[in-house]
């Protein structure tokens, strides 16, 4: 019965919140109808608005009936289990194991890239953010993309082939950072970045994000 309950995704400002973008993409790719609540960052009401929806004080948050799930990866895992027909994880065991590994790495690593190349869909900052460690993060991401595309991507344009998976959702914010900071990519990585940014669900998110008012703290 729970699968029939209404779904609500609570997210932070779309222009800046990479954490929110990931479960939004996974949820959109299930094809399920859902409501969304967008909480603007860094306003006097932000803390109160978040607390109203999220007892943990964290965003993003998925409400499914009376169940609340927080943390972008936990939300995506829940969606994959609840809507298996969406193939949010690859069906083949080895591919699924690798998909979980690269997703976990994106979830927990690349701290230099995150810190110095923050997501900002509206901004264009060529040449900025190149501090020590960032180039290594970029190289590692490109190596992951190239390896997954070569080993598992033959059936389609995504990391693991024909289906958009949680791994693709997790790397989409990185693809936007590569545009914002004008990061030159190898051809395979550039083509994969273009695939991610041309997805209708991402395009819809980006259109809304670009209309949001700027938040000084993140500009």
């Amino acid at each position: 019965m729970r699968a029939m309950s209404p779904l609500t995704l609570v997210v932070a400002s779309k222009n800046y919140s990479s954490w929110s973008l990931r479960p939004y993409l996974a949820l959109a790719h299930t094809g399920q109808p859902f409501q969304e609540v967008v909480i603007p960052l860094d306003t006097p009401e932000t803390r109160e608005l978040i607390a109203r929806h999220s007892p943990s004080g964290r965003l993003p948050l998925l409400k499914h009936g009376d169940l609340s799930i927080w943390d972008s990866l936990a939300i995506c895992e829940y969606l994959a289990e609840t809507f298996p027909e969406a193939h949010l994880w690859p069906q083949e065991r080895v591919a699924r194991a690798v998909a979980r590994s690269v997703t976990a790495e994106m979830h927990s690593s690349f701290t230099k890239l995150r810190e110095h190349m923050g997501m900002n869909l509206r901004a264009r900052r060529p040449g900025q953010g190149r501090v020590p460690g960032v180039a290594e993060d970029i190289a590692r991401i490109q190596a992951l993309w190239t390896d997954c595309r070569a080993r598992f991507g033959q059936g389609g344009p995504f990391l693991f082939g024909a289906h958009f998976t949680i791994a693709d959702a997790f790397f989409t914010p990185v693809a936007t950072r590569f545009v914002t900071y004008d990061v030159a990519l190898e051809p395979v990585s550039a083509a994969y970045r273009d695939t991610l940014l041309s997805q209708p669900a991402y395009q819809k998110w980006a259109e809304a994000g670009l209309r949001e008012p700027p938040v000084a703290k993140y500009e």
């Binding site: 060529p126 004008d182 273009d194 041309s198």
Partner: protein
Amino acid sequence: MVVEEPELGKLSAILFTGIEAAGRQSWRDEALQQVVRDEHAVLVRELLPRHGGREVKRLEDGFLLEFEGGLAAVDFGLELQQALKVHNDVVAVERRVVMRVGVHLGVVVHRDGDVFGEGVNLAARIEALARPGTLYVSETVARQVEGQLESPPVRLGRGEMKNIRLPVAVYRIDPPEHRRRQPWLSRVRSLLSRNTSAH
């Protein structure tokens, strides 16, 4: 002096056209070649605004064009192919042409009216790969137009991609079997027939 700021990182559909003489012939002389190139330009510039496209630049035997999305680019490419068929019907045999079209959707950088980036290179490589008279697109474009065309994109087989290394799969899009009646085709005829008797 106004210096245009580069516009960085915009997702655009990039389309290349390339023409050559029909029937594997070569042009009789440079004057004829120029006439045919100019006729191609007339068609491109006539149809482009209908699809919201932008002429980035004219090349020796074709054009580099930019569109907001893959569907607009593909619609334009198919309509241009159709217009070329009309062109070939009304001009002398020696002025008949075939055209290759290649489309990719990718992040491009705008500078001084031109476009740059890996996406532009990829679109050019796809156009070069296309057989004369066909329209080839990257998988990124094929996905975007899926379900919106009369003829679904057909993925190229391994044989067609032999010894060709591209970072994306390539699809062929065939013209619709049942041509729609296009009121602008009569205008194409009129535009082209002005020169028909001259060559």
